[in-house]
């Protein structure tokens, strides 16, 4: 069905490093427009939605580039200032970075019936739209962690880490806030949401927890038993490749919900195509496909039967700009580094 080509590019030194590229077009179609999508989302996760899109609009082909969130932010700012050719769509989980881009007037506005139906917390200025709804979860290795140890709240996790002679020393992992834009966002939101964050940092320090870069690495580590528990993992990635020995917990105290943000750069060459793709992703059909890929958490699904108050969607609004503030960030990262130690020399291995 797909005329697809997968490239894995390794350009670790360049800022504008894309990690993978794939083209999507309907079979036997001769598309006359091409839209370039730069995204932090794994290609595999979005493939069903993109295939459905090109099947529906055979005149449009998609070149999908997968980026790390920090690299994508730097790339988009450079494109905004006209230094490099822009993408037609920027789609990132680093929502605070996207809000910053919009605040720097890098985005192009668009309004349709569908975008107007979005709740106010999932859109800003008609220039940024939250497409997905993905929880930040705690995962654990079901084979190695006893059922009674599985932490259903942050308080349980804290207790687990405070135990003397805890077996979880060096076995708890989370995203590194400097290496991952998404990790920074989750940690920052934690620091705003509740006082448990200070305790968590202290616990991470006490148990020599590991801060690393990428979803896949963390999930694989938990599956293999290298880590026993991982905190603030993006739930959609866990569910996309089901593994038998991984348990997923939506913390009961509160669960952050991330909406990946979709932006059309103001310098985009093919805004029309980008708008069509936006409307498709937000349409019922698009949302159903995304929900099937666990990118949209439905409030009625059984496994996530959380109370309303425990669901904390990360609102797409200017408050996120605080996360981009230089002083605030420096202070936050300093706090983090004092817990987890310096970044490994040469950074983390970039892997999808």
């Amino acid at each position: 069905m797909i005329r697809a080509a997968l490239f894995a590019l390794l350009l670790p030194l360049s800022v504008s490093a894309q990690e993978a590229v794939q083209s999507f077009a309907a079979p036997a179609a001769t598309p006359d427009t091409e839209i370039i999508v730069r995204s932090t989302t794994d290609i595999a996760v979005l493939t069903p939605a993109l295939n459905a899109f090109v099947a529906l609009y055979p005149g449009i082909s998609i070149t999908y580039e997968q980026w790390g969130s920090n690299a994508l932010y730097a790339d988009s700012r450079a494109a905004c200032e006209g230094q490099i050719p822009p993408a037609d769509v920027v789609f990132s989980s680093g929502v605070h970075q996207m809000v910053d881009l919009v605040n720097r007037a890098c985005a192009s506005p668009y309004v349709s019936e569908i975008t107007r139906a979005l709740p106010a917390s999932r859109t800003w200025r008609d220039e940024l739209w939250g497409i997905t709804l993905e929880p930040a979860v705690i995962i654990y290795n079901t084979a190695l962690v006893p059922a009674e140890d599985a932490p259903t709240t942050r308080f349980a996790l804290l207790d687990l880490m405070r135990r003397a002679e805890t077996p979880y020393r060096g076995k708890i992992a989370t995203y590194d806030v400097e290496a991952s834009g998404l990790g920074f966002l989750f940690a920052f939101m934690d620091s705003l949401e509740a006082t448990t964050f200070g305790g968590l940092l202290e616990g991470f320090a006490r148990t020599n927890s590991v801060a690393t870069c990428c979803s896949a690495e963390i999930i694989d580590g938990v599956a293999s038993g290298e880590y026993l528990i991982a905190y603030n993992v993006l739930g959609s990635y866990v569910s996309s490749v089901p593994r038998e020995n991984i348990g997923v917990i939506h913390p009961d105290d509160y669960t952050l919900l991330l909406s990946r943000a979709y932006m059309i750069p103001k310098t985009a060459r093919n805004k029309d195509g980008a708008e069509v793709l936006l409307d498709f992703l937000l349409s019922d059909a698009g949302q159903n496909i995304l929900a099937a890929g666990n990118l949209v958490q439905r409030p009625d699904s059984d496994e996530t039967a959380l109370s309303e108050s425990a669901q904390r969607p990360i609102a797409i609004d200017p408050k996120l700009l605080v996360a981009m503030d230089r002083h605030r960030r420096t202070r936050f990262v300093g706090q983090w580094r004092s817990t987890f130690g310096a970044l490994p020399a040469g950074g983390f291995l970039s892997a999808p």
């Binding site: 605040n103 007037a105 200025r125 008609d126 705003l192 200017p318 408050k319 230089r326 605030r328």
Partner: protein, 466 residues
């Protein structure tokens, strides 16, 4: 008749539409003024409201600055951005700058204007953010710590979308209210004019429905303006009524007065034909006298008709009674009426002014003089006398005057006995009577030292009152 009705309706419509056009143009002009005023007001209100958010955020940020290891470090509170994001769709810029103006944290785009160092903070200014018009505020915080001394400035800016929207909403609200008030105004103006015009309609209908000979006054209904018109129309009808009445009287009098003399003339003529030749010259002589007398009667009747017409139609003018006396003396030929009778003229040196009609007065005077010449005894005098209140034109003769029963009947329309004698003293005095009444005066008759005097008394008109 239908065209007249149409004209009436058209005129009414045009008055209504004229007033409506006036009201509409007033509303249009007023609407423009309200639009401009409310937009200015809305802009001002929005500016004040959002300026407060701006300075609130700036103060929040300024409060969060601490000196850590000799450097100013801001711990930007989320609440500051919460305040700013109350303006839902506006982009934000902020900058924390050290004493030397270097950017400590925030955006380069939030740049205080040149010469701002001399302005006393907090100060607001208008600038742009990525080309979009924006509003900024700068506040400062002074530090004098052991390891840090100087002024840290915080500048916060925001685009104007929410402000403009608020201004627009306020303006819209004002416009809606004005529009509603305008519609109410138009409606009430329409109804008021309609109800004001209704009495005119009623009047027209009443007039149309009237008997052509019905000249009784109409009832005055409706507002004062319409009542004035009714009043004027009633006065006009009264005048018409009087004139028609006068005409009727003239005709009936004429018929009445002429019947006897004409019968007499016919009798004389028949006798002249039948009598023997010797008596014929005598008969003809009588015939001639009768005919002349008839001529006089006709003159007087016409004169009376003239006086009645003029007193109703000619507006009173200042008249010198001395001129009237001279005119009367000129017009009557005493030699013809009473040969050998001298008429003396006795007038004052100063003018004697009354408000009256010259022609009517002259006719009255002529009748008075003629009466005296025909019925009185020489010498006959005509004169004018005056005091501050009253002026009179009088005629005097040396005789005893008419008998008492004649005097009491004088002033009526005609006097049958006079008419039957072929003379017309009664008719003559009735003319004087009519003139006196028309100009607010009266007629007096009585014995004086020198004889019988008839006087036409009129109120004196002071010369300086003219």
């Amino acid at each position: 008749m239908p065209t007249d009705e149409l004209r009436v309706i058209a005129a009414q419509r045009s008055l209504l539409s004229r007033v409506m056009i006036g009201v509409l143009s007033l509303l249009a002009v007023g609407g423009c003024v309200v639009l401009l005023a409310s937009f200015a007001y809305g802009k001002n209100a929005a500016r004040q409201a959002y300026d407060r958010l701006l300075i609130g955020a700036a103060n929040d940020i300024a409060e969060s600055i601490n000196i850590i290891d000799g450097a100013a470090v801001a711990d930007i509170p989320v609440s500051a951005f919460g305040l700013l994001s109350l303006a839902l769709d506006d982009r934000i810029s902020y900058a924390v700058r050290g004493p030397d103006g270097t950017l400590l944290t925030g955006y380069e785009t939030a740049l205080p204007p040149e010469g701002s160092a001399r302005r006393s903070p907090p100060f607001y200014y208008d600038s742009t953010l990525q080309g979009e018009p924006s509003r900024f505020v700068t506040v400062v915080r002074r530090f004098s710590e052991r390891d840090y001394s100087g002024t840290v400035s915080v500048t916060v800016g925001q685009t104007l979308r929410a402000r403009n929207e608020m201004a627009l909403n306020l303006t819209k609200g004002a416009l809606v209210m004005t529009g509603l008030a305008g519609i109410a105004l138009i409606l009430s103006a329409y109804l008021v004019i309609r109800s004001a015009m209704r009495p005119l309609d009623q009047m027209a209908n009443e007039l149309l429905a009237r008997d052509p000979y019905d000249l009784t006054p109409m009832k005055a209904h409706g507002p004062a303006e319409v009542a004035v018109m009714t009043e004027a129309m009633n006065r006009f009808m009264q005048r018409l009524d009087r004139q028609i009445g006068a005409m009727k009287h003239l005709i009936s009098d004429t018929a009445h007065q002429l019947r006897t003399p004409v019968a007499a003339i016919r009798a004389q003529a028949e006798l002249a034909l039948e009598d023997d030749k010797d008596h014929q010259p005598q008969r003809l002589e009588r015939l001639l006298r009768r005919t002349r007398s008839l001529g006089n009667l006709l003159d007087q009747m016409l004169s009376r008709a003239l006086v009645i017409h003029r007193t109703d139609n000619a507006p009173p003018k200042p008249v010198d009674l001395r001129d009237i006396a001279l005119q009367v003396l000129d017009d009557c030929d005493p030699d013809l009426l009473a040969p050998g009778v001298e008429v003396d003229l006795i007038i004052t040196e100063a003018p004697v002014i009354v408000m009256a009609d010259e022609v009517s007065l002259t006719e009255a005077g002529k009748n008075m003089l003629t009466n005296a010449l025909q019925h009185g005894q020489a010498p006959v005098r005509i004169g004018v006398s005056t005091n501050t209140n009253q002026s009179e034109l009088w005629v005097e003769d040396a005789g005893e005057g008419p008998e008492q029963d004649v005097l009491s009947r004088i002033g009526g329309r005609f006097e049958r006995s006079a008419a039957s004698r072929g003379t017309s003293a009664g008719l003559g005095l009735s003319i004087v009577h009519a003139v006196a009444e028309a100009f607010g005066g009266k007629i007096t008759m009585g014995k004086q030292a020198n004889g019988f005097r008839v006087a036409l008394v009129l109120p004196t008109q002071e010369e300086d009152e003219l």
